[in-house]
């Protein structure tokens, strides 16, 4: 319950901080940190235009996407405090629930019969497929490291005994930050602020969404960021008491948001063809973590 509320809280200001960071680094004054939420509220109040080509799938997809992310957030613990849903192997369901939402978003994009949106859908499908192994190997390494197979039991028993273990934590954070960037279609892979349909990934998929649905999709993106931030914060919270862990959680979220902002300010988007190679790096880094864990545990024989 704690983590659920915290993630919702973080989702309210996360994108705001990202945008604020970007404006500061580029020397602009920029909007306040609640501006993205205000935009979303405005969208929620608007009417919408639907393409004549679309069917029911186009209408339900944003909602299903939103509820899939919400369902995934329910599974995230806060250190020792378990998520609302917690069971053995919950991270498998976590990944698959997210995939469900993405599946509907992709076919909703194809539902419009537009070539732009098909392009975005194709890229999104490929990139999210390529990210998946990194996530599973990383969770596998943590399972191996702690001897448990659920989010809560893994994170609450995560103790870094040696320097190598700290390094593994750092690498895992690196991988997760990048997973979050890719899953949210942010900078090195996709530029949300681009104005050319041909170079977009996620933005082009939702070209035809408007009004309430668009607002839902935007808010889901915020939620997703906060969700990954929550997972990253779990690497460090461990079994700390609430009065330390909650500020730490918020600090990590803010730090994560600033990092995202900085990355977006100082990095250029990759050429589309280079993205798969970049995403493969994540899998190889997580394999590195896996073997690091084997090394730490002395199971290398």
């Amino acid at each position: 319950m704690v983590s659920f509320l915290l993630v919702i809280l973080a989702s309210l200001f996360f994108t705001g901080i990202v945008i604020r960071t970007k404006s500061i680094t580029s020397g602009r004054k920029g909007p306040g940190i609640f501006q993205p939420m205000k935009d979303i509220f405005r969208l929620w109040r608007k009417g919408s235009v639907y393409s004549k080509t679309t069917s029911f799938i186009f209408k339900i997809a944003p909602t299903a996407y939103f509820s899939s992310v919400l369902m995934a957030i329910l599974m995230i613990p806060h250190g020792d405090y378990r998520g609302i849903i917690s069971f053995d192997g919950d991270f498998v369901m976590f990944a698959y629930i997210l995939a469900f939402g993405k599946f509907l978003m992709i076919i909703a994009a194809l539902d419009t019969g537009s070539s732009f949106e098909g392009m975005g859908a194709s890229r999104e499908a490929l990139f999210s497929m390529l990210v998946e192994p990194a996530f599973f190997i990383l969770m596998g390494s943590f399972a191996l490291f702690t001897g448990h197979t659920s989010f809560q039991s893994i994170f609450s028993s995560l103790h870094y005994g040696s320097y190598i273990a700290y390094m593994l934590g750092g690498l895992a954070t690196f991988v997760f930050v990048l997973i979050a960037m890719i899953e949210n279609s942010r900078m090195p892979v996709d530029d949300p602020k681009t104005h050319l349909e041909l170079t977009m990934v996620h933005e082009v998929m939702i070209l035809d969404n408007s009004g309430f649905d668009l607002g839902t999709i935007m808010y889901t993106a915020n939620l997703k960021f906060a969700m990954y931030g929550a997972i990253i914060s779990n690497f460090f919270i461990g079994a700390l008491p609430l009065e330390i862990s909650i500020p730490l959680f918020l600090l990590i979220q803010v730090g994560f948001a600033v990092t995202v902002g900085v990355i977006e300010s100082f990095m250029a988007r990759f050429r589309m063809g280079h993205n798969p190679q970049f995403i493969f790096i994540l899998t190889s880094v997580s394999l590195l973590i896996f073997f690091g864990v084997l090394l730490v545990l002395g199971k290398f024989k």
Binding site: G89, F100, F103, I137, G140
Partner: protein, 677 residues
């Protein structure tokens, strides 16, 4: 009771043939449907009573050739009987509607119906009979029956070619099985399956592994493990839709049954076998789905997905074997349990996908994905059912595919906690494989569903009147219902699975059983959470509906950067959807491309064609065949068309067969004599 029911069951199949001459085509259809329904009811009663009252066992005295013919129906048999029966039930009821279009082909239909019933009967008999000789005979009936049902449209060359390919490969499979059964028969003098246990438990482990591998090759051809899969993508597209569904759903699963049965019987070093199966299965799964993505023919795409799912089932079996080898009960349950559950699940969603693809075919007369589009509006029922099947086959909650994949994942992640380095590496490999399979299936089905059913029609073609009559759709609804039901309430199946997996480890202690029920409890939990997920989605959709009701809403053209002309031909195609993937996977695939670029001032028609081929088939099957043919062609002079020459060959062969042992005997005596000098 069980004995009488099984006898009635078999006699009913014979009764079909006897009754056919007295009826017209329609009557035959009704008779065939009635008989197969009764057969299904009978076999289901037997299977359910086995689960309730425990295994049934009886024996026929047999003849001098076969020896005693034991019939044993244990939990494993009962599970497969239930799986096979359900798919045949929906297949028969869907098939009779599907076949209405061919009603003027009287004899062809009669043959088809008879063969269909015989395939079903043979499949059930394979599950229960435990005598190698009799099983081979039944297996042959099944193979020939399948051949006949596949080549229903035998007037098309493509169909006949695929059918003959199937027939040959089936017989290679039978060859392997015959060798294996003869091996045991020669060593022990018995065709009874129990002789296999008796034989392998007294021999060194390597003999057991060898015997298993021979059996595995035989069954793997049926199941479609890579590299024995080449008949599947040929046979599935040419068969009628209900046959493709049944074939992919259950006929290939009889190979899995065989493997599971042999694993139960053969006592040997399970660790090596586990590694072997796991390795082949990961390759099978990944390779199957990698090829599925690049297919342009919807049914061929589904056929490659059968290979992929056999891979997933195989991963489960491999994990189970490793569990047996390392004496880790949790792995045994998660591995074999996941595999068995996936057998059921795959039979459901794959038959659903094939049936709805069949509806598409009957409406559009093509299976070329690039030519389809926008069908969801024209045939909404088939469309949404196809969507359910797609989501289920990708293993997404809240559908059944997720339950079995989750089961296997549980096994794999539990396996990671072991202390054996090699074992951990293999498990890592399997996890990577399973994740990749899931991700690739995701691409494949967003493509298949998105391009076929969404957007607008890509080619204007004359379509038939689309009939989605209730009678035709009810079997599909039934399957879809089962898919959702298993996705939400796996708790009804987990006790059955535990009963089967406990067969693999007879000496199991009570506290271990308690631990194992914890795994199945976990399964129950994910069912409930899937339900929660559905409720959350419905709740938010209701809120959305409630809010948007009062907002302005209008319809307009899709955003096209201001272009307002006809955008039908500008839509994303299946090939463009997977282009980036194809570029990435190019080294593993074999894609023939023909391209006509634009050139000159007034370029003519520009076009590009891609034909996905099978690399493994080319290098492992076609190349060796090519060389063998080259070699054998040199002996072509023997085949001179002269009857006299052929009789001479026969004569030479018979004389050699008789004389050779005698000559060898004489030489032996001579050598003996010389030694004594």
């Amino acid at each position: 009771m069980g004995k009488i029911l099984i006898e009635i069951f078999n006699l009913l199949a014979v009764a079909t043939i006897i009754s056919f001459p007295f009826f017209k085509t329609k009557g035959r259809g009704v008779i065939a449907l009635g008989i197969i329904t009764i057969q299904i009811i009978i076999s289901s009663i037997v299977a359910v009573s086995v689960f309730v009252n425990g295994p049934v066992e009886y024996a026929y005295p047999g003849s001098w050739a076969t020896g005693v013919i034991p019939v044993r129906i244990d939990y494993l048999s009962a599970w497969f009987i239930l799986v096979i029966s359900f798919t045949f039930l929906t297949g028969a009821w869907y098939g009779i509607q599907y076949m209405k279009k061919y009603i003027d082909q009287t004899f062809n239909l009669a043959m088809h119906a008879t063969a269909f019933i015989f395939v079903y009967t043979a499949l059930i008999d394979i599950c229960i009979v435990q005598n190698g000789f009799v099983m081979l005979v039944v297996w042959e009936i099944m193979a020939i029956g399948s051949f006949i049902v596949i080549i229903f449209e035998h007037y098309k060359t493509e169909t006949l070619k695929a059918g003959i390919n199937f027939l040959i490969q089936s017989h290679i499979s039978i060859l392997f099985l015959t060798i294996a059964f003869m091996w045991v028969k020669i060593k022990t003098g018995s065709f009874d399956f129990e002789a296999i246990t008796a034989y392998t438990s007294t021999q060194p482990a390597i003999t057991g592994i060898g015997l298993f591998i021979v059996f595995f090759f035989g069954f793997a051809i049926k199941a479609g493990f890579v590299p024995f899969h080449t008949w599947l993508p040929l046979a599935h597209p040419v068969a009628p839709a209900h046959i493709s569904g049944v074939m992919s759903g259950v006929i290939i699963k009889i190979g899995i049954y065989g493997i599971l049965r042999m694993l139960m019987l053969i006592k040997t070093d399970m660790v090596s076998i586990g590694y072997f199966i796991l390795f082949i299965s990961v390759i099978t799964g990944v390779y199957g789905v990698m090829l599925a993505i690049v297919q342009h023919n919807l049914k061929k795409l589904l056929a490659y997905h059968s290979i992929e799912n056999i891979g997933i089932i195989g991963i489960g079996i491999g994990v189970g074997c490793l569990g047996l080898g390392f004496d880790n009960q949790i792995l045994v349950v998660a591995g074999f349990g996941g595999a068995l559950l996936h057998v059921l699940n795959h039979s459901l969603f794959k038959s659903l996908l094939f049936y709805s693809a069949g509806n598409v075919y009957q409406a559009k007369h093509t299976m070329n994905i690039e030519a389809l589009g926008g069908l969801l509006k024209r045939m909404p029922r088939s469309g949404y059912l196809f969507l359910i099947g797609s989501l289920a086959i990708c293993g997404l909650p809240p559908f059944n595919g997720f339950v079995s994949e989750f089961f296997i994942y549980t096994g794999l992640f539990k396996g990671l906690l072991s202390n054996n380095f090699l074992f951990i590496l293999v498990i890592l490999f399997a996890i990577l494989g399973l994740v990749l399979i899931g991700g690739l299936a995701f691409i494949c089905f967003t493509k298949a569903f998105g391009i076929v059913f969404l957007g607008t029609p890509r080619e204007s073609s004359h379509d038939d009147f689309i009939e989605e009559t209730p009678l035709k759709m009810i079997p599909l609804y039934l399957v879809a219902l089962a898919i959702v039901f298993i996705g939400l309430f796996p708790l009804f199946l987990s006790p059955l699975l535990l009963k089967i997996t406990n067969l693999y480890q007879p000496a199991i202690s009570v506290e271990v059983v308690a631990q194992l029920t914890k795994i199945s409890d976990n399964l129950t939990v994910i069912g409930w959470y899937s339900l929660v997920f559905i409720l959350i989605t419905m709740f938010f959709y209701y809120i959305r509906h409630f809010i948007t009701l009062r907002r302005e809403s209008r319809e307009d053209a899709t955003w096209g950067c201001g272009y307002v002309g006809d955008t039908t031909r500008m839509q994303y195609t299946a090939s463009s959807f997977i282009r980036t993937y194809r570029k990435l996977a190019e080294p593993f695939l074999l894609i023939r491309k023909t391209k006509k670029d634009a050139s000159g001032l007034y370029p003519g028609i520009v076009k590009q064609e891609t034909h996905p081929d099978d690399k493994i088939e080319k290098w492992l099957i076609n190349r060796p065949l090519f060389f063998t043919r080259g070699l054998l062609n040199r002996f072509g002079f023997l085949q001179n068309g002269n009857l006299q020459a052929y009789i001479l060959y026969g004569f030479i062969f018979i004389s050699l067969a008789i004389l050779l042992p005698i000559i060898i005997d004489k030489i032996a005596i001579l050598v003996n004599f010389l030694n004594h000098l």
